[in-house]
């Protein structure tokens, strides 16, 4: 692959043509990923999660925060699919709204940490020198804190809201993205087609954008998918510990915390948010694994 792209660049054949990622392989990779059993299960579960979250966002469920003490602690049934909690709030509506909250925090935090971390990692790996050393030191410092502790300390110092939680999680994941993005750049900057691109007088930045970055999309897509699942777990843990999304807004971790004392008489209060959390994380992990085996040439997927 790299050799062929390299000769293309040398002969001037593809200087303005497609990126060195082989065109025919691209569509196949997506199909390969999503047509495996793991990929199909992941897609179905994710569709279910998005459906629930969508219902919460568009107001198709009951209100997640409306209290009705007359209907407290009802089991699952016609009154409410997932039952009600001690304040008579509808657990189904709260799970759906909690899922929407999890996804929102995950997408925002991964988007922020992805853009910042990947940029830092790519620049550090491509230009090396003092920039690389500086990014390395910052990474080491951030890595020195257990991830949940760092997120906790950051979230606790800022005013509590879903935005601050997202920022706290984003800070924790920046070094991970930076490290994941830096590694392949070290190899790619020595690739023949990159050297060739330098040789025909293209600027370094332009080489970086046209030839280096497109060749690492596979790794980055997998990393992003898996990071979404970690971000959801981190948000849930923070909310469980009382430093995440503030009540009365529904969050899956917060619901598990509230269910702690009542779970013996009202197991549905613990079960449904717990299952929802596991389902969304399993779905993202399955999709990540499926993408990895489809996009990683070493796994022999083709």
């Amino acid at each position: 692959m790299s050799a062929q792209a390299g000769t293309d660049a040398l002969t001037g054949g593809s200087t303005d043509g497609p990126t060195p990622t082989p065109r025919p392989g691209r569509g196949h990779a997506w199909r390969r990923a999503f047509l495996t059993p793991a990929g199909v299960v992941g897609l179905v579960l994710m569709a279910l999660v998005l459906l629930l979250a969508g219902m919460a966002v568009t107001g198709l469920t009951a209100s997640p925060s409306a209290q009705d003490v007359g209907r407290s602690l009802l089991g699952p049934g016609a009154q409410g699919w997932f039952g009600t909690d001690q304040f008579g709030r509808d657990v189904f509506a709260r799970v759906a709204s909690g899922l929407a909250n999890s996804l929102r925090v995950a997408v925002v935090s991964v988007a922020v940490s992805g853009v910042v971390g990947i940029s830092l990692g790519v620049l550090a790996g491509y230009y090396r020198g003092w920039a690389d050393r500086l990014v390395g030191i910052v990474n080491n410092v951030l890595f020195a804190f257990p991830s949940l502790l760092l997120a906790l300390a950051l979230a606790a110092t800022l005013e509590r809201s879903w935005v601050t939680v997202s920022v706290a999680i984003a800070v924790v994941y920046v070094p991970i993205f930076a490290r994941v993005a830096r590694a392949p750049v070290l190899g790619l900057r020595e690739a023949e087609y990159v050297v060739a691109s330098d040789a025909i007088g293209r600027s370094r930045l332009s080489t970086l954008v046209r030839h280096v970055v497109p060749n690492m999309t596979g790794i980055l897509v997998v990393q992003t998918t898996l990071s979404l699942s970690w971000a959801i777990l981190t948000e849930a843990s923070l909310s469980f510990l009382g430093f995440g999304t503030p009540p009365p807004a529904a969050s899956l971790g917060g619901m598990v915390y509230e269910a702690q004392t009542l779970a013996v008489i009202a197991p549905w209060m613990l079960a449904f948010p717990g299952i929802a959390l596991v389902v969304v994380v399993v779905a993202l992990n399955l999709l990540g694994d499926a993408l990895r085996s489809a996009l990683d040439p070493r796994s022999g997927g083709r």
Partner: protein, 325 residues
């Protein structure tokens, strides 16, 4: 000069130097993050009544807590104190943070060690099982179990276990107050069993994956084929030639899981009421105790850096191939 350069170029001193720079950065970050907390030591102590203090009283209190000094001065005096073993005093209990940490740390370390044992006991045989027939039913089932273990957050598993197991079995070892390993070893191990199991299950998953990959990698090596060809019995081949070499990355991985265990300890200690270092942080955060959270966080980060350094050095010692790199 050249001797110095050779020394600095050598991986071990270089790693040590990196660790020192990292620790310095860690202390700056810890200091900065916890100084931007809205509300300072004074509002934490007096609550709303802080609004009724006269400017003179506030100035006196600020001087008492040392927060009237410029930030760099505060940082240096804090760092100086830390380096001489003075981690500050918990404002609520009046006990020194060093003393609190010295009581809490052994409990967390015990929990971490037990969790690692559980993780290895589940993960290594699981990985061997998965690697024995790659791609077949056994492998797929193990992988599915491992994925599930990875996807269930420890706080959820811990809550479910604490609620249902304790209730069904009528077994509440954590209900009667914590006993250390030295005070009452039998009760202590009962109290540690469930949290260690919960944390062990969550690290079993990466241990399993690493073991599987490592075994498959080692099995493809030439020396394994040679051993097989010269007629080494199957069991001896698996243990002496494959497993022994495959365990090197597993050891590294386990060392790196230590940080994850400290994250998990935050949750597990809270749920199972174990007075460890994670609980100390949460308590401090809840009561807005600067000194407590700052120093405890620093202790945790220092521990993490040292364990990673140690893992790296042990790895170099165990695997001669890395020494070249």
């Amino acid at each position: 000069m050249t001797a110095l350069r050779t020394l600095l170029g050598h991986p071990v001193p270089r790693r040590l130097g990196e660790a020192v720079v990292t620790l310095l950065g860690v202390s700056v970050l810890t200091f900065v993050v916890l100084r931007v907390v809205p509300g300072d030591q004074i509002t934490a102590q007096y609550g709303i009544a802080a609004g009724e203090l006269s400017p003179d009283q506030i100035a006196d209190l600020e001087a008492y807590y040392g927060i009237d000094q410029p930030l760099p001065v505060q940082f240096l005096s804090w760092l100086g104190g830390v380096l001489t073993g003075n981690l500050g005093v918990s404002a609520n209990s009046g006990v020194s943070v060093a003393e609190l940490t010295a009581q809490a740390l052994p409990n967390t370390i015990e929990l971490a060690v037990l969790s690692i044992l559980v993780g290895l006991a589940l993960g290594v045989p699981g990985g061997m099982l998965a690697a024995s027939r790659p791609g077949r039913a056994r492998d797929n089932a193990t992988q599915a179990g491992s994925l599930l273990a990875l996807s269930v957050p420890s706080f959820l598993l811990a809550t479910a276990v604490a609620t249902f197991l304790a209730n069904r079995l009528g077994w509440y070892p954590n209900g009667e107050g914590y006993r250390t390993l030295l005070e009452d070893p039998w009760l202590n191990l009962q109290q540690m069993l469930l949290p260690a199991l919960v944390l062990g299950i969550s690290i079993a998953s990466p241990v399993l994956q690493t073991t599987r990959t490592a075994i498959l990698g080692v099995r493809a090596e030439d020396y394994v084929r040679t051993a097989q060809a010269k007629g080494v019995p199957a069991r001896r081949l698996q243990v002496r030639h494959v497993l022994r070499n495959a365990l090197i990355p597993v050891v590294t991985m386990t060392g790196l899981q230590f940080g994850f265990l400290l994250s998990g300890a935050l949750v597990a200690e809270q749920i199972f009421a174990i007075p460890g270092i994670g609980r100390q942080v949460l308590l401090g955060l809840g009561q807005q105790e600067y000194a407590l959270v700052q120093s405890t966080t620093l202790v945790i980060a220092v521990m993490f850096v040292l364990v990673n350094l140690l893992t790296d050095l042990v790895y170099r010692l165990v695997d001669p191939r890395v020494r070249v790199a």
